[in-house]
Amino acid sequence: MTRLKKNGLLLFAHIGSLLPLAILVWDWSQGNLTVNPIQAATLRTGRFAIILLILSLAITPIHSLFGFRWIIPLRKWFGLYAAMYVGIHFWLFIGVDYGYNLSLIKADLISKRYVIVGFFAGLILLPLALTSTRGWQRRLRKNWKRLHRLVYIAGILASIHFIWLVKSDIRVPLLYGGMVVFLLALRIPVIRRYTKGLRFIRQWFPKRRPHSSSSAQSNPS
C-alpha cells in the first residue's frame, strides 16, 4: 500500500514536473508565446525552477510535521527538476537571447545585480544536482547534509533574483521569498522544538496500516 502510494506519487511528480516543459515547447512551436517568445520562455522556466525548488524545500518539513515518510523521494526529484529548469533558463538567456555574444553579455550582464545573484543561485544547484544520488550521499557522509543545506542559500538568492527583476510590484516575488524563509525557519532548532509540539496533527491522519509504516521506519534511508 505504502509502496503503491509512493510510486503513484512519484509518477505524479514526474508528470507534473515535465508537463510545463512540454507545454512550453508546444506553445513555442504554435507561436503562442507572445510576439517576444524568448523573453516569455525565459520567464516561464525561471518560474518553474523556483516553484520546484520551493516544493523540494517543503518536503522535509512536511515529513517531520506530518510523518508522511513516502513523500521523501520527492525532495530529490523536485530538486533535480528545479536544476533542469535552471539549466534551460540559463541556456535561453545566454545562448538563445544573447546568442553567446560575449561582448554583449559582458557589457550588459555583469553590471546587473539580478543576473549576478541568479547566476550564483544556479551555480549552487549544480553540485547539489550532481551529488543527489545515493552513492554520493554515502561517499560524502556527514558532509552531504552540510553541502545540501546550501539549497536554502540558493532559494534565497533565487528569490532576490526575482525581486530585483520585477518592475515595481514585488508582491509575487516576495511571496516566493517568504515561502523560502518560512521553510528555512521551520528547520531552525529552536523553532523545530516548538513545531514538534504540532506533531499532534499527525493523529488527524490515522495510520490505517500500522505495520507498513513501522516497517518503513525501521528502514531509514
Partner: protein
C-alpha cells in the same frame, strides 16, 4: 537645429493613397482571414474602427523606417502592449481594453497658456495629419517599428499660445478605475503622468498620434490620442491623454515617483546609461531572434542630440 529627414515624413496624399492600397490589400486577403483565425492564436481579433475588414494583412514591407527596417505587423503592435491601467500583462491588454470608451473624449489644454482650450477628437483630427514611421524602444529592451498617424505636438501648442514662463508640458492619462481595472491597484500613483521640456515638446519629431497603419488607434495603443516621443523610452509616450498643462516646474512622472533611482525625467534612449534590470546596450526587435545594438537616442541623434549638449546624461537619465 537640424531639420527632420524628409524620408520620415510621408506627405498626406502619399499616405492616403497608401491607405487605399492597404484597404484593397485587405479586401483581397479577406478571404484568407478565416485561415488566419485557425492558427490557434491566443490573441483576440482586434476590432477595427475605420473599416469592417480587420486588416491583419497590413504588409509591413510597404512600411519601413529610414534605415530600411520593416515595420512590425499590425497584429504585433496591437497585441504586445504595456498599459498598466488595464493589466501588467502585455498580452492581456488587448482583451481587457476592447470595450474602452474613446468617444466622446476631451483633451483639456491649459496652465501657462494664453488660450486654454478643450479639444475633442474631431478638433484634433483637424490638425494636418501625417504618417511617421518611428522606432519604439521600450525600457524593457524590446523594440518595434510603428507607422503612426498624427500631428506634431508643436501645432497644438502653438494653437494654445504658451506663455513665456512655461518651461514644461505635463500630460495626464484618463483616470477611470471602472474602465481601467489596473488603476484599482494602489501600487502606482494614478493617474499616469508624463512630462516634456518645452524644447522637447516643440521638437519636430514629437507627435500626438491618433492612428496606426491608417486606422484609428485601438485602446491598447493609447486611443484616442497619445504622445509619441521616439528618442525616449516607450513609457514617456503617454497614452489616452485627457489633460495637458504648461507648467514652470519639472513634472514628476508616475515612474519617477515609483522608482526615482531607475527612472529619470528625461528617459532618453541611451546605450551608455545602464538600467539595473534591462540591458540598454542592446535590444530585441519584436519578430527577430537575435539582438540589435541600441542606438544613441534610438537612432534620432541628428534630430535631438543638440537639445542635450549641456546636460550630463548620466545624471539626467
Amino acid at each position: 537645429m537640424k531639420k527632420i529627414k524628409s524620408s520620415e515624413i510621408t506627405p498626406e496624399e502619399v499616405y492616403l493613397s497608401r491607405r487605399e492600397f492597404m484597404k484593397a490589400a485587405g479586401i483581397v486577403t479577406a478571404g484568407s482571414l478565416w485561415l488566419a483565425a485557425c492558427r490557434g492564436n491566443e490573441t483576440p481579433a482586434s476590432p477595427t474602427l475605420s473599416s469592417p475588414v480587420v486588416d491583419t494583412s497590413a504588409d509591413p514591407s510597404v512600411y519601413a523606417d529610414e534605415f530600411g527596417d520593416a515595420a512590425n505587423t499590425y497584429e504585433e503592435i496591437t497585441n504586445y502592449n504595456n498599459f498598466y491601467e488595464f493589466t501588467t500583462s502585455k498580452t492581456g491588454v488587448a482583451e481587457l481594453s476592447k470595450d474602452f470608451i474613446t468617444s466622446p473624449w476631451a483633451v483639456q489644454v491649459g496652465g501657462l497658456v494664453q488660450n486654454p482650450k478643450t479639444y475633442d477628437i474631431d478638433d484634433l483630427l483637424k490638425f494636418e495629419q501625417e504618417e511617421r514611421i518611428y522606432r519604439l524602444r521600450c525600457v524593457e529592451a524590446w523594440s518595434m517599428v510603428i507607422p503612426w498617424q498624427g500631428f506634431p505636438l508643436r501645432s497644438l501648442l502653438e494653437d494654445v499660445e504658451p506663455m513665456g514662463n512655461a518651461k514644461y508640458v505635463r500630460f495626464e492619462t484618463l483616470f477611470d478605475p471602472d474602465q481601467m481595472p489596473g488603476q484599482k491597484s494602489n501600487w502606482y500613483k494614478w493617474p499616469y503622468v508624463e512630462g516634456l521640456r518645452m524644447d522637447e515638446a516643440m521638437n519636430d519629431l514629437t507627435l500626438l498620434a491618433t492612428g496606426i497603419y491608417g486606422k484609428s488607434l485601438l485602446p491598447q495603443n493609447g486611443a484616442p490620442v497619445r504622445l509619441v516621443v521616439p528618442w525616449k523610452y516607450g513609457f514617456k509616450s503617454i497614452k489616452s491623454i485627457v489633460k495637458m498643462d504648461l507648467v514652470e516646474e519639472q513634472p514628476t512622472s508616475l515612474w519617477m515617483a515609483a522608482a526615482p533611482n531607475e527612472y529619470g525625467f528625461y528617459a532618453n534612449v541611451n546605450p551608455e546609461v545602464n538600467h539595473p534590470r534591462w540591458s540598454q546596450a542592446s535590444e530585441r526587435r519584436i519578430g527577430e531572434n537575435s539582438r540589435r545594438e541600441t542606438l544613441m537616442f534610438n537612432g534620432y541623434a541628428d534630430e535631438v542630440a543638440e537639445m542635450y549638449s549641456t546636460l550630463d546624461l548620466r545624471v539626467n537619465y
